[in-house]
């Protein structure tokens, strides 16, 4: 990297950058440029081609056409190493950290200098950089002991240590609390002052408005507009992003009559190393209610859902369904009691569906055993599959197509379709819109609301606080397996949720505000 260049120098520029996957045009002639001291936003919904673009900039993918210029020079990346050497630093959404290593080890991986690692000199330099950018860093902490925010700090340090002056952050706020987001933005502004160029890839409009200087909107792989942030509006960006004038609000259904259906008391779950994943959690779920579950990822959401569905051993506590304790029952025993519980797990292809099997074999996954005799009844299963395909408008060549070859939205519709077709008495969903585009996401919210109108109690585990606030009636916040607060969505704010996610309680927040 060269600090000698003038401050307004163009750091990185793309010209007609194009990438295809098979017949899919993932990026079609993308052009943008970032100058020193600028924060540049790449805005687009899931599937718009943001990740593809980022992967080309970081040398993970090789472009099919077009060129990248860094510091005015045309470059060609064969591997991430080439990109790093040009001063490009990538901070991935899914952190690329080695769990069993320390922060310091993670920072110096792949760096070519001394033969020996962890010398005092290297250590001093790392700490010095952390101080300059105001990053809190414990160099000897193992990654598996870190919070999400700490992990992100290590990722940023990795990039800075290599002297990168072009930083690309992929959906950096996806898993952070509002407070952590504030800290992150402060760091980004600091980098801007230090003369770095920052590219932030996101689908969150208000973040674009808050932090960026310039914004380029991507839709279906196309560059649909590049504007100065100060000269655009929230509404204009939203319309550009989706391609038509949109109303980005979620219907909030109000159901008056509510009866308690599921009662959880003092639920405690431990993993095989006896670490508490859920710690004496109690709550009640009412009919016709969407109860949201918020929390930074890994706060026990997964275990909670699985325990309710009879898939995770309960260490202590009770789960009552209409007064009947269902603790210790397997998922099948719960169903055999006449309680149809639908669980849409976050890992669709790894838990909810069998990736390489066809739609029909996936549709029968939970009730294949009910047909009489030793054989699987695929004939009636096929009829059911065709009905799901029609009802949920699933785009597939037929009922015998492997699910893994469907698009993300259609995969989720197969899962949701199967579960809703079973007329559930209780619906548990974990991150049902993760990775889906806006149209598919809104369809999912619709289905959830439809179930709610039928009076089905719904537990909705989500990560986007805006969606949680609009869709749910109440939100239960988890932190480290404990409930830090249950709030009515009409009477709370995103900031409160953020503080609860970070481990504050409603009382401590009140005291803070007082």
């Amino acid at each position: 990297m060269s600090h000698s260049s003038p401050p307004s120098e163009t750091l990185i520029k793309t010209k007609n950058l194009t990438k295809r996957f098979g017949r899919v045009l993932a990026n079609d002639a993308i052009n943008f440029k970032v100058k020193r001291g600028e924060i540049y936003a790449l805005l687009g919904e899931n599937g718009a081609g943001k990740s593809t673009l980022m992967n080309m900039l970081s040398g993970v993918y090789t472009p099919d056409e077009g060129e990248i210029r860094v510091h005015g020079k045309k470059v060609f990346f064969r591997s991430p190493e080439d990109s790093i050497r040009c001063g490009i630093g990538m901070i991935y959404q899914h952190f690329k950290l080695i769990e069993v290593m320390t922060a310091l080890e993670n920072i110096i991986i792949g760096h070519r200098e001394n033969l020996f690692v962890t010398t005092p000199k290297i250590r001093r330099r790392v700490l010095e950089i952390a101080r300059r950018y105001g990053l809190p860093l414990d160099p000897d902490k193992k990654v598996y002991d870190m919070s999400v925010g700490e992990k992100q700090t290590v990722e940023i340090m990795k990039v800075l240590y290599r002297g990168a002056d072009i930083l690309i952050l992929d959906e950096p706020t996806a898993v952070l609390t509002p407070q952590e987001i504030k800290n992150l933005f402060a760091i980004l502004r600091r980098m801007k002052e230090e003369g770095c160029g920052v590219i932030i890839i996101t689908h969150k409009l208000h973040e674009v408005m808050e932090i960026s200087d310039w914004v380029t909107v991507l839709r279906k792989g196309q560059n649909v507009g590049s504007v100065k942030t100060s000269e655009t509006s929230y509404k204009q960006l939203a319309d550009l992003m989706v391609g038509r004038s949109v109303d980005l609000s979620i219907e909030h259904v109000h159901i008056e009559e509510k009866t308690p259906v599921l009662e959880v008391r003092g639920l405690t779950l431990t993993d095989h190393e006896h670490v508490k994943k859920i710690d004496s959690v109690s709550f009640t779920l009412f009919s016709g209610e969407v109860l949201g579950v918020a929390g930074i990822s890994g706060s026990g959401q997964k275990e909670l859902c699985e325990a309710l569905a009879g898939l995770y051993p309960v260490h202590a506590g009770e789960i009552f369904y209409k007064g009947e304790d269902i603790v210790g029952l397997s998922s099948r025993e719960i169903i055999d009691k006449g309680i149809t519980m639908s669980f849409i797990p976050e890992d669709r292809l790894g838990m909810g569906l069998v990736a390489s099997m066809d739609l029909t074999d996936n549709v029968i996954l939970k009730d294949y055993y009910r047909s009489p005799g030793p054989f699987v009844d695929r004939r009636s299963a096929q009829e059911k599959t065709i009905k799901i395909i029609e009802d949920f408008n699933i785009q597939t060549p037929g009922p015998h197509h492997p699910v893994k070859l469907l698009s993300g939205g259609n995969i989720q519709k197969v899962l949701l379709g199967r579960e809703i077709m079973s007329r559930p008495h209780l619906l548990i969903t974990a991150y049902p819109t993760r990775g889906l585009d806006i149209a598919s996401s809104y369809l999912i919210y619709d289905y959830i609301n439809r179930e709610k109108k039928k009076g089905t109690p719904i537990l909705y585990v989500g990560e986007d606080l805006d969606v949680l606030l609009e869709l749910c009636d109440r939100i239960m916040v988890l932190c480290d397996g404990k409930v830090t607060g249950v709030v009515d969505t009409d009477e709370t704010t995103k900031e409160t949720l953020g503080l609860l996610m970070a481990g504050e309680t409603l009382e401590s927040i009140e005291r803070m505000n007082a």
Binding site: P80, E81, M90, E99, G110, L115, F116
Partner: protein
């Protein structure tokens, strides 16, 4: 008595220590090579044949190392470049290596290692160290091949935990995508360490045919390659623990023979089973108490394709 038993155990454990170390390096790069048995056999037969033809110990060792490297190269090319299934490729390598060894070894059965080679590998008490009571006899009165075994294990330990190459290697095995994104040439790391693994396995085999037995017999390894794969788990992928694992098994290898000398009459065939039974017990033990620090490299057995999502 005990000292002479342990002395023999160290010798019997040496081929294992080479093979285990080789497999540790391979697995640290994220590759599970089940072909160790085949690689050892290839090294054993080529080492032996070269010794017969040239009577030169160096050439014999080079031959064995090359044979192991050649076998490992097949494995590396298939699993890294062509991303084939590692389990099946390893099995294929064992089948191939077994066939290769009996093919090349056809007609060699009964031949003895040439005198020049034998004398080169004669015990060589280390000055000073061998005079340490007990330990001196157990550890420092051996062939230079055994000392070489100590050295590579210790060197590998420092390499793995103290150098940046070792750090990068561990990164490759723990999270290939992260290592790749950090600019590490993962293909190179995988090839180099799989090849190193092959060379070490080949040398382990050569120790059997040149020093330990030292004549040719079909299937000379009798499952040591497999035991080595199991002991990698016991060693928790840490070279320094080879000293426990390999020499414990060296002891099991010879205990039946020793006890017969003491007029304890349990059928020799049960003692022959012992290493395999203990291997199984160790596997069970390691799986019952698994923890984060002793778990295998996270990428073990998984293929990696950068453009996969």
């Amino acid at each position: 008595m005990l000292a002479s038993f342990l002395h023999a155990a160290v010798i019997a454990g040496t081929p294992l220590s080479f093979a285990i170390l080789g497999e540790i390096l391979t697995e640290r790069a994220g590759k599970l090579n089940l072909g160790v048995e085949g690689l050892m056999l290839m090294g054993a037969v080529i080492g032996f044949k070269t010794a017969l033809l040239t009577s030169n110990p160096f050439l014999a060792l080079c031959g064995a190392a090359l044979a192991g490297a050649a076998g490992a190269l097949i494995f590396a090319f298939l699993t890294v470049t062509l991303r084939s299934n590692q389990v099946v490729t390893g099995l294929a390598l064992t089948i191939f290596g077994t066939g290769f060894a009996s093919f090349v070894g056809q007609g060699l059965a009964g031949f003895v290692t040439p005198e020049q080679v034998k004398s080169f590998f004669h015990p060589l008490p280390l000055p000073l160290l061998s005079r340490i009571p007990f330990l001196g006899e157990v550890l420092f009165d051996h062939s230079i091949f055994v000392y070489a075994g100590y050295l590579v294990v210790i060197a590998a330990y420092f390499y793995l935990y103290k150098t940046r190459f070792g750090l990068n290697l561990r990164a490759v095995g723990e999270n290939t995508a992260a290592a790749d994104a950090a600019g590490i040439n993962i293909t190179k790391y995988k090839f180099v360490h799989i090849l190193a693994g092959g060379i070490l396995a080949g040398l382990g085999g050569a120790f059997l045919s040149l020093v330990y037995v030292p004549t040719w017999q079909d299937n000379i390894t009798t499952g040591r390659g497999w035991i080595a794969v199991a002991l990698v788990i016991f060693c928790k992928w840490n070279p320094i623990r080879i000293f426990i694992g390999a020499f414990l098994f060296g002891g099991l290898d010879i205990i039946g023979f020793r006890l017969q000398g003491l007029n304890i009459h349990i059928s020799q065939y049960f003692f022959d089973m012992l290493p395999y039974i203990v291997t199984v017990l160790i596997l069970i033990m390691m799986s019952v108490k698994d923890s984060k620090e002793s778990s295998p490299p996270a990428e073990l057995g998984r293929p990696y394709f950068r453009e996969d999502k």
